[in-house]
């Protein structure tokens, strides 16, 4: 396998590849490398923060009464906010460090598919691990598990969906966003299927509860079939539509391959997926396909803020004095983990970029890694003042971002990389000719300084 194809693969199923890691993969075949990725992701390592304090409040209360006192409620809300922040940071660490690369990238993908948010860390943590558990499993089991998650039951009001007065929110999004896509069902299908999900609820602990007395036992007519369908029956009928496989494959294609869809490739994927809705099989098929490595698919996607931040810190580890700054970065760039804008999630692609975010993205590498300083001295003129300039910049901007960059980590992984090769390791696409001409006029005082120059380019935003 060619180095650029291995890098492409790892940029898409992960967040990039360090030069020495690439070195160890160079002699392996495509099948070997893809197998390795899939095998490494067989295990599921749940992501957890310590929530015992919250659970203690819960259990203490539940002994006496089913309802929480206002005081406990406030306490839980406060604890939950703090813990949710902690969970966000733990997730970022996981994305940077995990060996289950494919599973973790898929978890991130599904989090923007089965979009959900909640203010309870207990429910959100459970939901997040359900995404992780099913990320490479069977899609039918996945949809059913999601439909019974406390966070989702709350978020899309299935909890309020009762026989007497159905609430259609979940039924609608199930079809529009989770399985079929807009336009592939009727308003009647929504109304009828909402009846099938009546009675879905959860208890305080976040366990699924089916409230039989609130369930509508009447016959429902759904996609031309009639019967006393349960929620699971509805999922069954939906998945029988080939459109469901096509819809999911289209979304996976746009996320992992290219926003411009090649319908032939998506249809081929859908044929594989439709057989048994096994996600791992589908991913293996996609990653083994020659077209995945087509030139037109390499370096053409705009990184999401998380891809950008995690990628940056996988190359040069960054430690904030106050780790909450990572959340602030996410906010400024437009993607806060666990806090999607709405149930449709982030649109991605060009939508990540506007005047604010482009400016910040270009500036961040120098802000975080180089005391806000980008070396831009013309070749031939010595820049003896680099350290002095950095100190000046640091004084000016350092207050906003108190971060330490671990350059020795970078140095050890990039030890055998020549200055002229840095570009191929840091950038997924070719540098625009005009920019190249400008860069040539600049001095490259060190690998470190040149890397900052490269990371401050629009090209670094591509993957």
């Amino acid at each position: 396998m060619k180095p650029k194809h291995i890098q492409h693969l790892y940029r898409r199923v992960g967040f990039g590849l360090l030069p020495d890691q690439l070195q160890t993969l160079l002699k392996k075949s495509k099948a070997h490398i893809v197998d390795g990725l899939v095998e490494a992701s067989k295990t599921v390592t749940p992501l957890r923060v310590d929530t015992s304090e919250i659970e203690a409040v819960f259990s203490g209360n539940m002994m006496v009464t089913k309802k929480l006192s206002p005081e406990s409620r406030r306490k839980i809300r406060k604890l939950s906010r703090e813990k949710q922040m902690e969970f966000n940071l733990a997730w970022m660490e996981r994305l940077t460090d995990s060996t289950e690369i494919l599973r973790e990238k898929m978890t991130l993908f599904w989090a923007n598919h089965f979009v959900c948010k909640d203010n309870s860390i207990t429910y959100i943590q459970q939901f997040n691990n359900t995404l992780r558990t099913h990320a490479l499993g069977n899609f039918k089991a996945f949809v059913n598990a999601i439909s019974k998650e406390a966070a989702m039951v709350k978020y899309l009001n299935t909890k309020q969906n009762r026989k007497q007065n159905p609430n259609e929110n979940f039924a609608r999004e199930l079809m529009e966003l989770f399985t079929l896509g807009e336009g592939h069902y009727t308003e009647t299908d929504i109304k009828e299927s909402a009846k099938a999900f009546t009675g879905y609820s959860h208890n305080l602990r976040g366990e699924f509860v089916f409230r039989k007395r609130q369930h509508d036992e009447s016959d429902k007519t759904f996609f031309g079939k009639a019967g006393n369908f349960s929620g699971e029956d509805i999922v069954d009928i939906i998945l029988k539509q080939k459109q469901c496989a096509t819809f999911i494959c289209g979304k996976i294609y746009r996320y992992f391959v290219n926003e411009n869809v090649d319908e032939n490739h998506v249809n081929a994927m859908a044929n594989v997926f439709y057989r048994n809705y096994n996600i791992e099989t589908l991913m293996r098929y996609m990653l083994m396909s020659d077209w995945f490595y087509d030139k037109k698919n390499i370096g053409v996607k705009i990184k999401s803020p998380i891809e950008f931040l995690v990628g940056l810190k996988s190359t040069v580890p960054i430690t904030f004095k106050n780790p909450k700054q990572w959340l602030y970065m996410q906010k400024l760039l437009g993607q806060i983990l666990l806090n999607p804008p709405n149930v449709a999630g982030w649109k991605g692609g060009k939508q990540w970029i506007d005047s604010n975010t482009i400016v910040l993205r270009l500036k961040l590498p120098s802000l975080l890694l180089n005391s806000a300083y980008i070396s831009k001295v013309k070749t031939g003129k010595a820049d003896a003042k680099i350290d002095f300039k950095k100190a000046v910049f640091n004084k000016k901007y350092g207050k906003r971002f108190k971060a330490d960059a671990n350059w020795s980590y970078f140095n050890s992984h990039f030890k055998n990389v020549k200055m002229s090769e840095l570009e191929t390791h840091l950038l997924a696409c070719k540098i625009n000719d005009n920019t190249k001409a400008y860069l040539r006029t600049l001095d490259k005082p060190s690998k470190q300084e040149y890397s900052i120059q490269l990371m401050s380019l629009p090209e670094y935003q591509m993957c």
């Binding site: 437009g334 400016v359 625009n432 005009n434």
Partner: protein
Amino acid sequence: MDRRKFLKQSSLASSLFLVPSFVRAFEEVASSKLGYKRLVIIQLSGGNDGLNTVIPFRNDLYYKNRPTLGISKSNTIKINDDVGLHPSLKPLKQLYDKGYLSIINNVGYPNPVRSHFRSMDIWQTATDSNKYSQSGWIGRYLDHYGTHPHSAIEVDEKLSLAMKGETLNALATQDAKSLYNLSRDPYFKNLAKHQNDTHLSEHNLGYLYKSMIAAQSSAQYIFETSKTVSTKKEYPNNKFGKQMKTTAQFINSHLQTKVFYTALDGFDTHVNQLNTQKRLLGIYAKSVEAFVDDLRAHNTFKDTLILTFSEFGRRVSQNASIGTDHGTANNIFVIGENLKRQGIYNNVASLNDLDDNGDLKFEIDFRTIYATVLDKWLEVDDKKVLNKSFKQLDFI
């Protein structure tokens, strides 16, 4: 050349040119000298319940459908014998009394889609409900008539689809100063200087370069122009209040911006709607009140038109959670000093003639409102922007 420039130039060059447009052309030249007309769009995201906003308090069907959700007659701010406003909209009633408000009812589009995102897209792109577009209506306005990205500004963190054109995007900023500070690095200035147009048309990468260059030049202009004006006016201390305050600052510093866009989120009220809507409409009305006062104090209100919309109204009947599910037609607020039709533009919806889903039937296509605003207020060719001809209304 666009129609406006064409007319202006032709009318200046030769007064015998194109007789039918002749009078109109002179009007345009005159109006552009008199002032600089701006449009401010406010989006109520999530689908505001229009029936509890403009309330048919005399209609029994209203209370029958909403036994615990209906706003009682005594709480309604009456504006005529049949219709009243939500109690949170008191500031709006004051605008109404001064003749600054026009309420257009039953606004929607054929074959309504009850999905937030799809319906929002439809409102923002102004396309038919079965068609998709990557550009928004203000974006296409920019494509044809904009000169800079800051010809239209979204005072928010992100840019809405409405503001994205095929060739030109509007600019999103909440804070002109920090945007300027970030963009002024000489390294980026040099990068920008070295680009030429051929590479900027390349797909995603070209888009990034274009965005970078546009951000640099506009950030400087906006910051330097707007820092000269500050306001003493009190705005509600929340995100939307701040957005309206920034918008006023931009307008009052006479930024060369034709369209401003802001949004207030949270109107998706499936559950316990009463409190949520009360709070949100309160934020909306108080902010708009402060905004109008601020503009009037700076003599810029006369050149400003404010348009408020939501992607759909909600179902007529309340649901079991004392909320409402997604519906269809809704009301629109037009606020300005020079309205031709003040007050209630048309009657509120009929509650005994609903569609199969139990939703209101629309009477006015929202695009006829866009067409009117484009033609009569922004004075451009509405057909070019909307890709279709719509009949126009006479509220301005």
